[in-house]
Every structure is written in structure tokens, then in C-alpha cells.
């Protein structure tokens, strides 16, 4: 890879929490045995139509009002992931074209952020309205010496019979090898584009971030929490009262919360962050001692509304493939159906959210969404 104007050069170290690895080799963090059994039990209960009593019913805890606002906001930018990209940029053995398969539900436009920090040229996708316009399509790569970043291929196509022209034209240009490029797309986009335009022939062997494991997740949380909590807070597990971030004498957490979180989030940092945010509570009648304490309750098994009706799943699948879509475009990438009421149901249940009229899947709901899609037999992504 051609080196850009980087001043943050850092060689890869054994203790780097995130590295870039072959996307085909990705394996999610393992479940702790007890948590895995609980998850199976919970899913069996759902199958039999019996719902476990939710932890929210605990009358001593409540969800802090300010958290609802925080959840709508983005997770902190994942610095270990940015560092991994920087190491890639500085690797002189890298090929000129490299695709980074991002884990889904990235709410920080990671490649955009990284490219901006390094002053790299970015190629923006075409105007959304142009994707289906009845015009000739031509794509030109901007001239320049440094690495060109194409942050998100999800903006270059629509899953519509007339919506693949731009991405095909882009891939044709990339195939000419005129300029070194780092191209980003999420794992669902990648799966779709492999089928629709055979992107894997032009951009083989994509790299992706290694899943964030228990210790790396804890460390990232410990680094980021002071930045995001509104005041100085303590985080304690509601089932044991243990400090969430405390370590035992071996330097490991004395609970398996982070191991569960890593497994449940598939090792995706922003998904883990949002799952954690969803599990925060505060006491209704706090003592002096725990006035600044936030209680971390057990991670909930959540399932899709309406027992995963196909229409819900079709919407969620389309949103994952495109990253985000405006409501009016959504109906163009779906079969003959009216998505309006379904979108409202998904939004009110916290599975999707809306920003400036664009819908996207909530990172905190992603594990449930993925499980629902897998159970219904939808084509799956590689990350998980």
C-alpha cells in the first residue's frame, strides 16, 4: 500500500486488541458455557411461546431517562480499529487495492473518520437520486498520488434491477489499477455484491477487524467510559454487586459479563457498546453510597416482533445490505409490500432508528436481527 501522509505509524504488536484478518477466517468470540445454556433455554422458551420474566420488572431498578438519549447517539469511535487501519496503510507489502469488510451497524462512519484524520482523499458515492436515474453512468477516480479511500460501497448501488450500474462502473475503474485504494463495505453489502456483481473477483481476499475479545472489550470500555458518562459513575453488576471494571489478582475480570458481551455482540465493538448501554439501570431509591452507581443487569435475549415475520425480516435485510435507506427508497428495494406500518413497528421496538429520514438497524438490536435472519434462512454475511 502506498504510504499516505501519516504521522501515526505504529507497528503491529501482539497485544493490539484489533488486527485486520482474512474475512473468510473470522470466528466470533466463544460463549461462556453457562451463558450459552441460558441462551438456548431462553430461545427454547420463546419457541414454546413462554416468555421469561424480563429483568426490567425488578421494581428496585429503572432505566435512567438520559440513557435513552445516549442510546440514540453514536458509540465512541473505536480507536483500536482506527489503529489497525493505520498499520495497514503503513504496510508496504499491501496490494494497491484492498477491501476492508466492516462489521455491520457501524454508527461512526469509521473509514470516513480514519481517512479524515490522515488527510486521505475520499471518493463520495453518487447522489442517492442518481442511482436509479435513467442516465448514462460513468465513474472517474480522482487523480492523485496518495491512497484513495472509498469509505462505503453501500452508497454505490440499490438492490434494484436498475441500481447496479454505478457499482459496476466503479469496479471497472478500480480494476484498471490506476490508483491505490482502500475500499470499505459492510459484511452484508459484501455478501450481496459477491452475488450480484462478483466483487470478489476484482477485490479478492477482503480483510476485516478481528472480533473484540473479553479483555480487549473491557480495556476499550475502561478507556472510553470516562469520555461518555455524563458524570463520574460507578458501574456495578446487579446480580453480584461487583465492580464491572475490577480485575482479580490474575488481572482478569472476576465475572463473565465481558465474555458474554463479546460473544453476544459477535465481537463487534459498536454492537457491544450499544448492548451494554441497553443493560444499564439506576436505583429508584438510591442510598448515599450508590447515588452515582449505574447497575448493569443481565444481557437480555431479545427477539424480533411478530415472531420474526418475513416482512420484518425483508426490511431488516435490505437495511443491512444498504447500511441506511430513506423510507421512500426502501419500497424500491423490497418486493411488492407497503413498509410504512412495519417500519413504525420496528422503530418503536428499537430494532431500527431514523436519522434525517434515513432508516438504519440499531446496533444494539443487531444480534437479534442476525439470529432472526439466520433462522428464516436468509443469505448470511461472513461476520458471525
Amino acid at each position: 500500500m502506498t504510504t499516505g501522509p501519516d504521522t501515526h505509524a505504529a507497528p503491529e504488536r501482539a497485544d493490539d486488541p484489533i488486527t485486520l484478518v482474512d474475512a473468510e477466517q473470522i470466528t466470533p468470540p466463544p460463549w461462556p458455557q453457562k451463558a450459552a445454556l441460558q441462551a438456548v433455554l431462553s430461545r427454547t422458551r420463546q419457541l414454546l411461546g413462554r416468555r421469561r420474566k424480563p429483568f426490567m420488572d425488578d421494581d428496585r431498578l429503572r432505566r435512567p431517562a438520559w440513557l435513552d438519549e445516549v442510546i440514540q447517539q453514536r458509540s465512541p469511535v473505536c480507536t483500536p480499529a482506527l489503529n489497525a487501519l493505520t498499520r495497514l496503510l503503513n504496510d508496504s507489502n499491501e496490494p494497491d487495492l484492498r477491501l476492508i469488510m466492516l462489521p455491520p451497524c457501524d454508527d461512526n462512519a469509521l473509514l470516513d473518520t480514519w481517512a479524515a484524520r490522515h488527510g486521505l482523499d475520499c471518493l463520495a458515492p453518487p447522489e442517492h437520486g442518481a442511482l436509479l436515474a435513467d442516465e448514462d453512468v460513468s465513474v472517474t477516480l480522482p487523480e492523485g498520488d496518495g491512497v484513495l479511500v472509498i469509505p462505503d460501497l453501500g452508497g454505490w448501488f440499490l438492490r434494484h434491477h436498475h441500481g447496479l450500474r454505478h457499482v459496476r462502473a466503479l469496479l471497472a475503474q478500480l480494476g484498471k489499477g490506476a490508483r491505490a485504494c482502500i475500499i470499505g463495505c459492510n459484511s452484508w453489502t459484501w455478501a450481496f455484491l459477491c452475488k450480484a456483481v462478483q466483487i470478489d473477483l476484482i477485490l479478492p481476499a477482503p480483510l476485516t477487524f478481528s472480533p473484540l475479545e473479553e479483555m480487549a472489550l473491557r480495556r476499550w470500555f475502561a478507556d472510553e467510559m470516562p469520555e461518555t458518562a455524563p458524570i463520574d459513575r460507578r458501574f456495578r453488576l446487579s446480580d453480584s454487586g461487583r465492580d464491572l471494571l475490577a480485575l482479580d489478582e490474575r488481572g482478569r475480570p472476576d465475572h463473565d459479563y465481558f465474555r458474554q458481551l463479546a460473544a453476544r455482540s459477535l465481537g463487534i465493538p459498536w454492537v457491544a457498546w450499544h448492548l451494554w448501554q441497553r443493560s444499564l439501570r439506576e436505583r429508584i431509591d438510591p442510598d448515599e453510597d450508590d447515588r452515582d452507581t449505574l447497575w448493569v443487569v443481565a444481557l437480555e435475549e431479545i427477539s424480533l416482533p411478530g415472531d420474526g415475520q418475513t416482512e420484518f425480516l425483508l426490511i431488516l435485510h435490505a437495511l443491512l445490505i444498504h447500511g441506511a435507506l430513506p423510507g421512500e427508497t426502501l419500497s424500491q428495494v423490497l418486493p411488492d409490500m407497503a413498509p410504512g406500518p412495519l417500519l413504525q413497528a420496528l422503530e418503536s421496538n428499537g430494532y431500527i432508528a431514523r436519522h434525517n429520514g434515513w432508516f438504519y438497524c440499531q446496533p444494539g438490536a443487531y444480534p437479534a436481527i442476525r439470529r432472526g435472519l439466520e433462522a428464516a434462512g436468509f443469505p448470511m454475511d461472513l461476520y458471525g
Binding site: H160, H161, D336, A375, G377, P379
Partner: protein, 268 residues
Amino acid sequence: MSESAEQGAQLVRDLQNIDFVEIALILVGTWLAIMVVRHTLPWLAERGPSQTRLILMGAVPVFRLLALIVAIVWITPLVIRVTLENFLVIAGAASVAIGFAFKDYVSSLIAGVVALFEKPWRPGDWVTVGDHYGEVQSVGMRALTLRTLHDDIITVPLLKLWDSNIVNANDGARTLMCVVDFYLHPDHDTAQMPQALKDVALTSAWLGYDRPVAVFVEQTRVGTHYELRAYPFEMRDQGPFRSDMTLRGKAAIRALGGMEISAPAAAG
């Protein structure tokens, strides 16, 4: 005692030695087990992951056969003195009864057993038997039931196995090929049309990614015939998948200036 009476006494145990309660319990237990499995497994198959659906549904007839074999093997020595001579006597008597009275029923039973091994149909498969196409809902002792795309239930005797062609669209797989035909006026852009129709399938929300999409073109007497072949990710969605490809295929044809014409059959 006469010789034939002695033979009869040797063939069947003395009435006072036959434990009718045990036999009744075995029969009721077997029937209950079959009923539970027959209702539970399809119920679980409908609600569980789609990957396990065919396995669960296919297990029902296998379980029933095993349960019946166990029950027969269990009951037979309770009623009959099991010797080679007795077996031959019973087989002879059974042959006469079957030959005259229960020929079709037994033939269906045997067809059901043969079908378990030859697998021309399995619960969950999409098959055509005679003029009927549908999903195999259940395979009974005498007949199977098909649910058609129009939601009709059709009962097909298993006897059909002996003298009918059975067309199995998925043959145990979780998907099946869907074909959509378009007949176009020959004057159109043949350079772009195949790719445009292929894109119709490639961008369908129902498409399965692990099977190929293909477009075949042939010139027929009445026009250019395009055949679009693709696989949905779940075969039960074949109706919506075909419908989606048809609607969007028509739009793609119009966008390229193509004009559909009547199918050959309609054109006479």
C-alpha cells in the same frame, strides 16, 4: 384333542396365558407416541430454524415405521408361539387375506416403506404427482397429503409410487429452481436484455445466494423466449419469488424498449 386343534393351540398361546392388558398398553403407547411425534415435530419444524425444518418433518414417517416395528416385535411373542412352522402358517393365512381383501391397503403400506428408502418424496419436499404440485405436508400409512400453492390439500395414495412419475422439485434440498418465462417481440436490444433480466433475479429480496442465476434465450415461432432461472433462499417463498421476478422483469423489459407478446400456447 384332534391334530388341527393341537396345531392351533401350538400356534396361538392359551387365552389365559395372553396378557391382554400388556398388549393394550403397548398398542396405546405406540399410538400415543406416534401421535405425539406426528404433531410435535411438524409444530417445531414450523417454529424452529428453517435449517432444521426438513429434518424434523422427515423424521415423522421414520419414527412411525420404527414404532410400529417395535410394537409388532413386542406383541407377536405375547400372542403367538414363535417358530418357523408357525411363521409359515401365519404368512400363508395373511397372504390369502391380503390377496382378497386388503391388497391396495397393503400395497400402499409397502409403497410407504419403499418410499422411506427410495425417497421419491419426503415431508417438506415440493413434488408433482399426476397433475398436482404441492408441498408434502405429511406421509401417512396409506396416503400422503400435498398442500398446493393455492392452499388446497390433496390426498395422494402411496400406491402412485408404483405406476406414476413423481417429480420432486427440491429432492431434500432447502431450495428449488424457479423459472419465469418472457416472450418478447424479436425486435429488441438482445445485447442488454439477458443481463437486465439476470439483474432482476440478482436484486430480488427472495434470492438465495448459493445457487446460480441463469437466463436462457431461444427464438421461437412467435417471438424471443427468455427463461429466467433462479433459486429462492427458502422454497416456500417460491410464489412471491416468481411473482417478484415477473413484475420486475416486465418493468425491466419496458425500460429497455422491449415488448412482450402472447405466449405460444395463447397464440395458438
